[in-house]
């Protein structure tokens, strides 16, 4: 049985439905991320798990128990807030001791537990400092120490790294992964940053407008998006929409608008005439100056209309005869060359049938 079950939870604010009939099952010990753009309902859902808000419909069940009658202070979940929410009038020790005091831990045991918690977040010796004397990353770690000190069943993290600069954020991401592995507590993580979600999570739930679009491991979310929204939200993606023109042995030919026939592997039950979208990641396209010497499943010619030099890769946007711009990229792995093509170059793009993923309408 899953550790946390969210069953048909809905939350409305007047006319606006923030969370729409969401059902999820989160397993013990996993790093589970709620990913989506602002306003998709992920934070609202998190707050309902924490107890700061109550669902209008549905149940939230933790360890077999419906949480609806439990106020936040009685739930065995701890939250790490985006703003850290450290008590400014208490020292680091005071902050970390607070949950222990609220749980009526005997005062003789408290100092040891505080020391252990600070050690876990590598902040030994910072006990006597006040929050305003700490850097962003240090405050973050104190918040985590405070949340973990009573060994809660689950840790909820609300975009905890959003306020940190890029370098620090990367470091903290690695620390979070290691911490979660060491401590073994279930993490429910909220973010709008899809790279972060892909890097940190065991599983991701992609949310949009209050609904869950897909729940899967990161690689499956990336490689096999179940909806156009997911394909588009995660990373960069070419989206070729059109109708199914034919279906032979699991290889479907889609008449993509503005491009032409595209062949892709799909579940065999697709009938002709059905509508859908092919999601094709730029890195899966082979882009060359001359025509391919083999017979690729898909082959298109075009002119480089734009290019974006990103340092490690260069993204090429190629204009095709049909009008669609196809995005492809190449790693800048040859020293001395920043890019392989220039704007205006004629290029040949090709990819196999299993490079793309067909999303039915």
């Amino acid at each position: 049985m899953a550790l946390l079950e969210i069953q048909g939870v809905t939350r409305r604010f007047g006319d606006f439905t923030a969370v729409d009939n969401v059902s999820l099952a989160i397993e013990a010990g996993e790093f589970f991320t709620l990913l989506g753009p602002s306003g998709c309902g992920k934070t609202t859902l998190l707050r309902m798990i924490a107890g700061f808000d109550l669902p209008d419909a549905g149940r939230i069940v933790l360890d077999g128990e419906d949480l609806k009658d439990r106020p936040p202070e009685a739930r065995p979940v701890r939250t790490v807030f985006q703003s850290y929410a450290l008590f400014p009038h208490m020292t680091v020790e005071g902050n970390v001791a607070f949950p222990l005091q609220m749980a009526k831990t005997p005062s003789s045991e408290i100092p040891a537990k505080i020391a252990a918690a600070l050690e876990d977040v590598r902040l030994q010796g910072f006990g006597k400092r006040y929050p305003h004397e700490l850097s962003g990353g240090q405050k973050q770690r104190v918040a985590i120490a405070r949340a973990l000190v009573t060994h809660p069943t689950m840790l909820l993290l609300d975009e905890p790294l959003a306020a940190l600069d890029a370098k620090l954020r990367e470091e903290m991401q690695v620390e979070l992964i290691n911490m979660q592995k060491d401590v073994g507590i279930t993490f429910v993580y909220v973010t709008h940053d899809q790279t972060e979600a892909l890097a940190l999570s065991h599983r991701i739930a992609v949310m949009n407008k209050g609904r869950v679009e897909q729940v899967d491991e990161p690689s499956k979310i990336y490689g096999f998006p179940k909806s156009v929204f997911v394909a588009d939200f995660i990373g960069h993606c070419n989206l070729f929409s059109g109708h199914v023109a034919g279906n032979t042995n699991g290889v479907v030919t889609v008449d993509a608008r503005g491009l032409g026939p595209v062949r892709v592997l799909a579940q065999s039950k697709l009938a002709s005439g059905g509508a859908g979208t092919i999601a094709l990641r730029p890195e899966m396209i082979r882009i060359q100056a001359h025509a391919p010497s083999d017979t690729p499943d898909n082959h298109y010619r075009g002119t480089v209309a734009e290019l974006l030099y990103m340092g490690d890769v260069t993204v090429y946007r190629v204009a095709t005869a049909g009008g669609t711009r196809v995005e492809a990229l190449l790693a800048n792995s040859q020293t001395g060359r920043a890019k392989f093509f220039e704007v205006g170059d004629l290029v040949e793009m090709s990819w196999p049938v299993d490079a793309g993923h067909f999303i039915e309408e």
Partner: protein, 257 residues
């Protein structure tokens, strides 16, 4: 980068002088060896001596202190509750009841409370005055507390609850310590307002009860001696100290008007 505008500075200085000269005159004449507040004769502390041996005046001072302390304590408690209520919860009636006493002319409250007390056969005296003072002090405390809460990070209360604190514990260990300077400033303000109040006290004190302002009033109307100056000076000194302390505790005390 200061624009030197002589006329602006002059006008402003005139305004400051206008504000302070009358008060300075009162203080100066309290040391004047003359019955008349007309011209300086010589330095004396006689008026202060007379003040401290004036039994009626001392009784009035004691009354004012008792009422002031009571009104301050009760209105601080109720006013803090009201401030928290107005900030955290959606109420429509409470803000109106809390803020209107401050907005309307004082005489209206004095008069309506007079009718009220007489109709319910409540004897006018120290208690009626204290009850009246609490009524208008609540608003001041509530405003200060609410402003202080607005400056506080809301997520701190949630974090406290998340850490296992009941709503009361969250208030006691997190919210209250953080708004305490505002609460104390409000209490000092309430005390000052109560000590200094004239109009409402005038209507609700009844025949036998005299507070300092009422005593000053009868002295002004009946027989003016520089004893009035002496008591005024002492009262001003007390107020000065209280308000300076209050403004140190709650730096934007007077900004959020």
């Amino acid at each position: 980068m200061r624009n030197r505008r002589p006329w602006l500075w002059t006008a402003a200085l005139v305004a400051y002088a206008f504000l302070y000269v009358p008060l300075i005159i009162v203080v100066v004449y309290s040391f004047n060896n003359s019955r008349l507040n007309a011209e300086w004769v010589g330095f004396t502390l006689d008026w202060y001596r007379q003040l401290f041996s004036d039994a009626d005046m001392l009784a009035a001072a004691v009354n004012s202190l008792i009422i002031g302390l009571t009104a301050s304590v009760v209105s601080t408690i109720l006013g803090t509750m009201a401030g928290v209520a107005m900030y955290r919860h959606k109420t429509r009636l409470l803000p109106i009841l809390v803020l209107t006493p401050i907005a309307i002319p004082e005489i209206l409250m004095g008069v309506s409370l007079l009718i009220f007390f007489v109709l319910v056969s409540f004897t006018l005296g120290l208690v009626s005055v204290a009850l009246a003072h609490i009524t208008f002090c609540i608003g001041f405390v509530a405003i200060v507390v609410r402003a202080r809460l607005a400056g506080m990070d809301e997520s701190l209360t949630e974090a406290a609850r998340d850490c296992g604190a009941t709503p009361w514990n969250a208030f006691r260990y997190v919210t209250l310590p953080l708004i305490m300077p505002g609460v104390i400033a409000g209490a000092l303000m309430a005390f000052t307002l109560s000590i200094d109040d004239f109009v409402i006290t005038f209507f609700t004190a009844g025949a036998g009860t005299v507070t300092l302002p009422l005593a000053i009033y009868s002295m002004i109307k009946i027989a003016v001696t520089p004893e009035v100056n002496a008591v005024s000076t002492l009262l001003m000194l007390l107020t000065l100290v209280l308000i300076v302390v209050a403004s140190r505790l709650s730096p934007n005390l007077f900004r959020s008007d």
